[in-house]
Symmetry: C2
Subunit: 606 residues, 2 copies
């Protein structure tokens, strides 16, 4: 193999890169800034990084590829990007489901009213200029000018002092200070409004909000993919990446911070403000995202008993992790409940206004891990279930995330199948709400039994070797030259996921000694929770069969909670109280869990 550089062309996005022969397509794409889905972190076991060779030489198929790709795929030139090495100039086609972007992002959440009590407040100051008769240092003249105007003596970090002399002169000795608990975090032109940034860091998606700290108004919001996806789809593969690479944790942190800086810059540009008007930030995420962002170790999160390094609320200068806001801006992160019930769950509970509720409430956010809280008679229990990534489209033959071309709604009648795709694009796969619908519709049409076996007859039900499969979209129909279909193993993945979540709900109810019918409110947060069809979720047994008006799909409540934590120091105290009072139930240590789980696996009878 020669050392000569080969031109690698990635279509349809049109990125080109020259790299030495021998590089894998996954590495080449990373180096070109194109992030492919690598659910398993590039180990070759997930089969998600499918790309199609259009032209040029690649290394021979590996056993991993022949195991993971169908004969049809192999015949059409599909390869696994993590396996195939580039041997010369190549042109590759990347199907949308293998790209981590674009994707539908969930930004909306409910905004309950809240008394403003931001931790950073402004103070206008005029400072006398130095002269031969007044040789005081710039800091001395400033602190003496504000003496008596603040409850305590002001303090200044080195980074704020580094700019002070220049800013006093630039603004002609009149400035606005942004003050956080007596510490000056920014020196701004007179009358500059103060802003904060609230960010929900999901394993998959980021949602960022620019909030005016003086009015509480959200000036702008933006979403983005979590760039860490290129290093592993889920929390476990990122923990593995961090453990197995010398500076793996720093890489994951740096990529996230880059994206947060870009989001902040874009939000400021949209709102026509300067980046140093961002004087405070709140970041919420699950415990692993929290630890990777803050630079805490994650190794102990990956091994029993899965304890966090830190559960307490954290705050530190934003610059310490490379965030470029006002020189002294701090980042606050609410406390974590446990290794797998993170600060984002706390934020969700705040965002959905569940604290000190007199009602009996279940609140959950479905993901690879699903965190569930139960409030009942002044007590609060929480747990985490390993629900797996099936509802994010992973481990499903035609699964994909909620990107254009993903089927999100399905209706099956006696002879036909209707599908609705995101962006009304030709169907390329199924996202979470689509898979949920398929299973529910197969149950409704009596084409599926309680154990998850396809049965009966339907024009779309057909054998494929020893397996039976249900064709949702025929290739010739969709314009994409592949059928989109589900088989029993896809359905089993959904069974495992919904079984885990339902078992978590039932375990919490059992701990509280109550029946599901006493639940007054059933709060479903998060993107999948927003888009899922409630009837389908109840039909497959994911949720208990309660009167429909008790259900509440609240959108990105973690983002709403993050914004509340940004504008109210009182909410930060509440967050601490939640973590002090919650009773965390470790399902792995809970005796009844296994039998509850076995019961929850079966589908309800139609």
């Amino acid at each position: 193999m020669s050392d000569e550089a080969c031109e690698i062309i990635l279509q349809p996005i049109g990125r080109r890169i020259e790299l030495p022969a021998g590089v894998t397509i996954l590495d080449a794409a990373r180096q070109a800034g194109v992030e492919l889905v690598a659910l398993c972190g590039g180990e070759g076991v997930c089969g998600a990084c499918r790309v199609r060779l259009m032209q040029g030489p690649l290394s021979p198929h590996t056993l991993t590829e022949t195991d993971n790709l169908s004969d049809e795929d192999l015949a059409h030139g599909y390869r696994l990007a993590c396996q195939a090495q580039v041997l010369g100039p190549v042109r590759l086609d990347i199907p949308p489901e293998s790209l981590t972007t674009p994707q539908r992002l969930q930004l909306e959440g409910q905004d309950a009213s809240l008394e403003l009590a931001p931790v950073v407040t402004p103070l206008e100051v005029e400072v006398p200029q130095p002269s031969l008769d007044d040789l005081r240092s710039d800091l001395t003249r400033l602190t003496e000018a504000v003496a008596g105007l603040t409850p305590g003596a002001l303090t200044f970090s080195r980074c704020v002092l580094a700019d002070l002399s220049v800013k006093l002169r630039a603004h002609n000795w009149r400035v606005r200070l942004a003050i956080r608990q007596n510490e000056v975090v920014a020196v701004l032109p007179p009358h500059s409004p103060l802003y904060g940034l609230a960010v929900d860091v999901g394993s998959t998606k980021l949602a960022a909000y620019l909030v005016n700290l003086e009015t509480g108004h959200t000036a702008a919001k933006l979403g983005a993919m979590n760039p860490q996806i290129a290093y592993g789809e889920d929390v476990i593969s990122r923990i593995t990446y961090a453990n197995e690479h010398a500076s793996g944790g720093s890489t994951l942190q740096a990529r996230l911070v880059e994206t947060l800086n870009q989001l902040a810059a874009d939000l400021c540009a949209q709102s026509n403000i300067e980046i140093d008007q961002i004087v405070e930030a709140v970041v919420v995420g699950n415990t692993a995202m929290h630890h990777l962002f803050t630079g805490l170790p994650v190794r102990q999160l990956g091994v029993a008993p899965y304890v966090p390094a830190v559960s307490e609320a954290m705050q530190f200068p934003a610059r310490e992790v490379g965030l470029k806001f006002a020189a002294g801006a701090c980042v606050y992160l609410p406390p974590n409940i446990a290794g797998y019930v993170g600060a984002d769950h706390v934020a969700m509970l705040l965002g959905a206004s569940l604290i000190e509720t007199p009602q009996t409430v279940i609140a959950l956010d479905i993901g690879t891990n699903t965190e569930i809280s139960l409030f009942h008679q002044g007590r609060h229990w929480s747990c985490s279930c390993a629900s797996g990534p099936a509802f994010e489209g992973a481990h499903i033959q035609f699964g994909m995330r909620a990107a254009p071309g993903a089927i999100e709604r399905v209706r099956i009648d006696d002879s036909e199948v209707q599908v609705y795709t995101i962006g009304e694009q030709p169907a390329v796969g199924l996202c979470g709400s689509g898979i949920l619908d398929v299973v529910a519709e197969l149950l409704r049409a009596r084409l599926l039994d309680a154990r998850g076996v396809l049965k009966g007859s339907h024009p779309r039900l057909r054998p494929n070797g020893s397996k039976t499969e249900f064709v949702l979209v025929r290739g010739e129909q969709s314009g994409v030259d592949r059928d989109v279909k589900v088989n029993r193993s896809d359905i089993n993945e959904i069974q495992l996921a919904k079984g885990a979540i339902r078992a978590g709900i039932e375990t919490l109810l059992a701990v509280a000694g109550i029946d599901d019918q006493v639940i007054d409110r059933f709060v479903v947060a998060g993107a999948f929770g927003t888009y899922l069809d409630l009837e389908s979720a109840i039909r497959i047994g994911l949720f208990p069969d309660l009167p429909r008006d008790r259900f509440q799909q609240v959108g990105n409540a973690a983002g709403s909670g993050a914004r509340r934590l940004l504008v109210s120091s009182r909410e930060r105290q509440v967050a601490d109280e939640i973590v002090k009072q919650v009773e965390y139930i470790e399902l792995a240590g809970h005796l009844a869990f296994t039998s509850v789980y076995m019961n929850a696996l079966a589908f309800p009878s139609a």
Copy 2:
């Protein structure tokens, strides 16, 4: 001129580097890590960066070179490194006086006894391990283990938390915490002694001390050149460099921090301790060194009225400026008095135990700027005089710093001259104490009048064109093929320097309304102050003619003061008090100064 790389060989040190043609020798040496003296910051006006071409092509002589180098030098192949460009492979010889290293360093200072009260203290802790029955986070289990053992709740910075989980496990859940005002700054193996680093950052030299915080014992000390010298010899040329280059200030900071990290690593290796046992640092320097080290702007230090950005004591995490000590170690810097009376002067006053003295005391540290304090009847005045770099060997034809081969003592008798060089090496130039001696001996031998004119007759006194010069060492005598000599302009530089210093002393005495004979103690600090000959200093009028037992040469008192500040929080309070109580006298604004200065310029009659 081709783009091809030329090999550049720097002798006698034997460094080689390949660089494109067109590079100046000064830049090439910098890139090779060889620091040449560039008093003027590479502007071509100081003539200090003399190197000798041994072989290969350089660009033609510039006018700057023909102006600054003698015909003899030009004939011998001497060039100015900042002017001559490399046009092909070259071999260059760098004379010792053009190298910034090696040089004699002043480390010793008096150590007065002191009650230990370090700001960082140790606490041994045993922490219970996590289990399925104890899922508390690592931080929670640690804080609960120490509850009640400390006066307040412990706090932890993000950087300390980043290591906590790993260290608890590595040390089998038994650790020693280093605690600073309730903040944990290091998590160490059980029973690790805590150390601190005290550094005196001079414009020219660094002195670093590793101190055991539990015993107060200085375990090791090391000196080094200030690497910023390569960017300009004195404070003004460094301020110019910082102002005129986009990231000039950061470059100067980074170079200093690199050297401090290396000194710390070397000190730890000498003492067989780990770098993270350094849990606190004290840095003292003049106001410009202070600002460049802390990342404060220096522009306003370079223009009237020369105010510091910050005069208050500063403390911040060492990691913020790139210092690699314990994760949470802080750096403390005592307060500055004024733009040209810095924190090093405060440290010197502490080191020489002058605070609250009942005596009448003058204390000074001679440098390019000479800071002077006068204590009298419970009051304290200070001033700074622009004494210039003559006593550091600059602006003197054969001046050099105190490196091997520098003449440091001179005796002139009727027919001969005796010189003593550092390291007993062949004489290559004159360092500060040598120049002082020459002038004093010329006065004693009546070869110099009060105005600084060479007169009389002596075998070594000879005309050179229109000028008269005094030959100290003949080339054939020294083994170096150049004479070492002084002329009237050298003597005038000494006149200006001693005049400025003496005028400062006289002005402070005048402000206090006292005569020099009431001075009980006359304290001379610093390297030049240690090596100068007291009789010579009095003879030329640098110091008043007091009984000799009132003089005290205290060595590096700033370094001693830095060590006191390291081991005693009480000394830090005293430093704040000094700056609150001192009356700073701005000589530029002092009406009588000019006439005092004019009087001080003349040499005393023999």
